[in-house]
């Protein structure tokens, strides 16, 4: 009999015996559990590390891309000036000063002097005598009334130098200053007639 015919006959006759053979073929080779565990743990060790590297690489690339984008449109300079101001403003509020000690004239004491209550009040100082003590002028042009840094005599300040303008934290308070570090003459509550010279 021809071989193919014989096989064809057997193919047609496949049944329970064939299923048994399939089962035996499926179970013929099985890997040892120790081998599977060892190789599996080796793969799981290698896998996440690679993913972590990819994630870090991705985060790094994204950061560089963002910095390049910000740098191209001046965002970095803007951000750095904002940070600079944020640091500078509290310095103007509280001034670390060396003042003569009350106990001994030769010794000195280091004190923190509160120049302004808030950083905002440092940047927007009251005018030179303009307005009453309950009415603080908050910005130019009313503050200076055309005389930046010098209080006009009409304001009752007698031409005293005012602590006006921004970033003036280096001034050392003297006996002639008030709690806000301003010359008394410039205190709108202490001197001169009420004279609204500027905008609110």
């Amino acid at each position: 009999m021809h071989r193919d015919e014989r096989i064809g006959g057997r193919v047609r006759g496949f049944g329970r015996g064939n299923r048994d053979l399939e089962r035996r073929l499926s179970n013929l080779h099985a890997a040892r559990s120790e081998f599977v565990d060892a190789l599996g743990s080796r793969l799981s060790e290698a896998g996440p590390r690679r993913v972590l590297r990819l994630r870090l690489g991705y985060a790094g690339a994204l950061t560089v891309a963002m910095l390049v984008g910000l740098g191209a449109f001046g965002g970095i300079g803007y951000a750095s000036s904002t940070v600079r101001h944020a640091i500078h403003a509290p310095v103007n509020v509280v001034l670390h000063a060396v003042v003569p000690s009350k106990a001994s004239k030769t010794s000195t004491a280091s004190v923190n002097v509160v120049l302004n209550v808030t950083s905002a009040s440092d940047q927007y100082r009251p005018g030179c005598g303009f307005g009453d003590k309950n009415h603080v002028h908050t910005g130019p042009p009313g503050q200076h009334n055309g005389f930046p840094g010098i209080c006009p005599s009409s304001a009752g300040g007698g031409g005293a130098k005012c602590n006006s303008g921004r970033g003036n934290g280096s001034e050392t308070p003297s006996s002639g200053t008030d709690v806000n570090g301003l010359p008394n003459d410039c205190d709108p509550g202490k001197s001169g007639p009420v004279n609204h010279g500027g905008d609110h």
Binding site: N18, L39, L43
Partner: protein, 181 residues
């Protein structure tokens, strides 16, 4: 970002399937384990090149396994002509004999039949997956597997007949395989 699936996810099942495939060609033991390890080392190295559009992870792994097994067989033929196709030692004698009989029957099949049986029953691939891997149509794979199984069954019957004859006469030369090895 990686848009593809990880071909090494659920590695334990894949390891068992790749090992079973390799063992069909190399026999149970160290050689099949070495080949399997090599497959997964390569898979780890080239996992980024895996493209899910081209097939499932197991098919990709078996593509690597086929090359590893080929290389192992080539190395084996250079070093020795022996076929160390012995199953793992077990106390169950009958199971050992059954495995030996089956393995030796498989060894008599042609290369194509062995490959089909290794992929179907060792790696547990479906006919469609085997077709994709070998580049042939699914129904052609089904028919080829049927024929390979039939040939294997015929060989097993022949061997069993020979064993019965040997047991009856007590003459090992009367066995069908006598003088073949």
């Amino acid at each position: 970002m990686r848009g593809n699936r990880d071909p090494l996810a659920g590695a334990e099942v894949s390891i068992r399937r790749v090992y079973a495939y390799a063992a069909y060609w190399l026999g149970d033991g160290a050689e099949a384990e070495d080949a399997t390890s090599e497959v997964f080392e390569n898979a780890l190295r080239y996992r980024e090149s895996y493209d899910p559009r081209k097939g499932e992870p197991i098919a990709w792994l078996l593509g690597i396994a086929r090359r590893s097994v080929k290389a192992a067989l080539a190395a084996r033929s250079q070093t020795s002509a022996e076929v160390p196709d012995l199953p793992a030692t077990t106390d169950l004698e009958s199971e050992t004999i059954e495995r030996l009989t089956l393995s030796s029957a498989i060894a008599t099949l042609g290369e194509h039949d062995r490959e089909l049986l290794a992929l179907r029953y060792g790696a547990d691939l479906r006919a469609r997956q085997i077709g994709e891997l070998l580049g042939i149509r699914t129904n052609a794979v089904e028919v080829a597997i049927h024929r390979a199984t039939a040939r294997l069954r015929a060989e097993l019957e022949r061997q069993e007949g020979g064993l019965r004859a040997t047991a009856a006469t007590g003459d090992p030369d009367s066995a069908p395989d006598a003088g073949r090895m």
